[in-house]
């Protein structure tokens, strides 16, 4: 039996997501979104306190 095929794609290839040329850009976007969510949650708490 053959061993499972290894993936020929490389970690640095383009994510093929509109607006993003690198994976680093996607990670930064996810991080920025996370910060925004935390800020919005804090504002939500303060508004309805």
């Amino acid at each position: 039996m053959k061993s499972p095929p290894a993936d020929p794609s490389t970690p640095d290839e383009s994510p093929r997501v509109p607006g993003f040329r690198t994976w680093r850009g996607i990670y930064l976007f996810v991080f920025a979104f996370f910060v925004l969510v935390v800020v919005l949650l804090a504002l939500f708490s303060r508004y309805f306190a």
Binding site: M1, D7, V30
Partner: protein
Amino acid sequence: MNALDWIVLLGTMIGIAAYGVWRTRDVHSLNTYLKGNQSTGWWTIGLSVMATQASAITFLSIPGQGFESGIGFVQNYFGLPLALIVVCAVFLPIYRRLGVYTAYEFLCRRFDGKTRLLSAGLFLVQRGLAAGVTIYAPAIIIATVLGWRLDLTIIFTGLLVIVYTVTGGSAAVSLTQKWQMAVIFGGMVTAFIVLLTKMPAGLGFGGAAHVAGAMGKLEAVDFSLNTDRRYTLWTGLLGGFFLSLSYFGTDQSQVQRYIGGAALREGRLGLMFNALLKIPMQFSILLLGALVFVFYQFEKPPVFFNQTEWRHHEQGANAATFHALDEKFNAAFAEKQTKIRAWLETREAHDAVAETAARAAMLESQTRAGAIRAEAKAALVADDPRAKTKDSDYVFITFIIDNLPHGVIGLLVAVMFAAALGSKASELNALGTTTTIDLWRHFRPLAAHDEARNVRAAKWFTAMWGLVAIAFALYASLAENLIEAINILGSIFYGVVLGIFLVAFFLRRIGGTAVFWAAVTAQVLIFVLFFFYKDRVAYLWYNLIGCVACVLFSVVLQLLLGQKAEKPHAA
């Protein structure tokens, strides 16, 4: 539940399972059986990762948590997006490049066989026990509320998940999880909408949120450094990061969900999909619980939400005590409702001074009602020391059964079962795969060359773990203590396993012997903490301590051994 509810419930559960069996009936390749279809896209992977993490307890307990303690629990997930970025950037590319079936197979290539066996063994012990709880915990709650037979509920759900997981392996798991998540999303949105329509006229979402906020249920972020507080921004970031990194990066039930797919891109996008959506999703479920709390400020709730337990005591020798508590709670509720309405009127009148006084009176009446609930729980224990006093898991299901229209009740119960089946299927799939690849093939290397035999072995092992889980669920006796026990069990092993993987990825000069003995020593240290210092060190810290100890001991041992043992084909 009436006939319509049963049609919706059984149609959804059996329909999705049958669809999974039918679509994957011709899976004969080991690669497809263990990793899923090569054409699987990021969307399916993302939903599959989400469904694996979201068990039925997520949809039973988390609204209850929002009801009881507010939405602060959302901070527990703050480390998750950051951990997923690390998994995406470091873990996943290596798993894909090596083409491994399991995370522990990577450890064999990076270190040696004994480190692989140790990690796979720790996973099998911990996840094998947890698999029983995945069925048992929701079954005990739903069976209690609906008056079903617990054993039949466990056996039916257990066998259903075994049938499609054994038939189609990973391909069936991903396929069915996609539809189960559709049911879950549909059901939760429906519950949200129906709940808003049940609020008093004129209150609306804004008014309800103001009531919840005034009663302290909407404090989402706590910036304090107070170590007494269980959920803060900092514990969420630090503890949540290590827990998530360990869970998503090294737990085979998750790794198996994203190492398949057409290309590395699909797995990465699937994980980023979760990094974006997980916190908003958990927030929505907690908010639902907080709104159920508001609903029960205008509609009288039971003094104790596990009504089966309450009625049992109410009909016993101390009936008078429980009737008196009921009466007392009814009076407190009526008083509280008056105070809340008075507060709402002062808000509308924009009278700041009157509003402050009305808010204080409202909170005072809330404290009184809470004290009666505490008194009721104490009375249950006084009547029977073995009585189960945690009723927050029963809040949402009680709301569903008592207040939602028929058809929607069936849909929401289907949500609970869809979540249970989805997470259970991933667990069985991972247990079967790890047993086949890391144990069976390790001890019978000649069998590795026979693909059909490998698939047969994987099917048998998956079925075996399914039956073990059913047996464990049938003989488990205490739900609430068991869930905590399984969480503790996970924390005992997760940190050390994560430490092994961090050494593998980031400390390339450390060899197998050093990391193996470091892991054993770190695990002993965690056992010592657990058995002798349980009261001083909370179990969530075991994740961090186990991980750090494993990494430090590895470095020290490698220095003592004084040799580099990196293997030529290591990552």
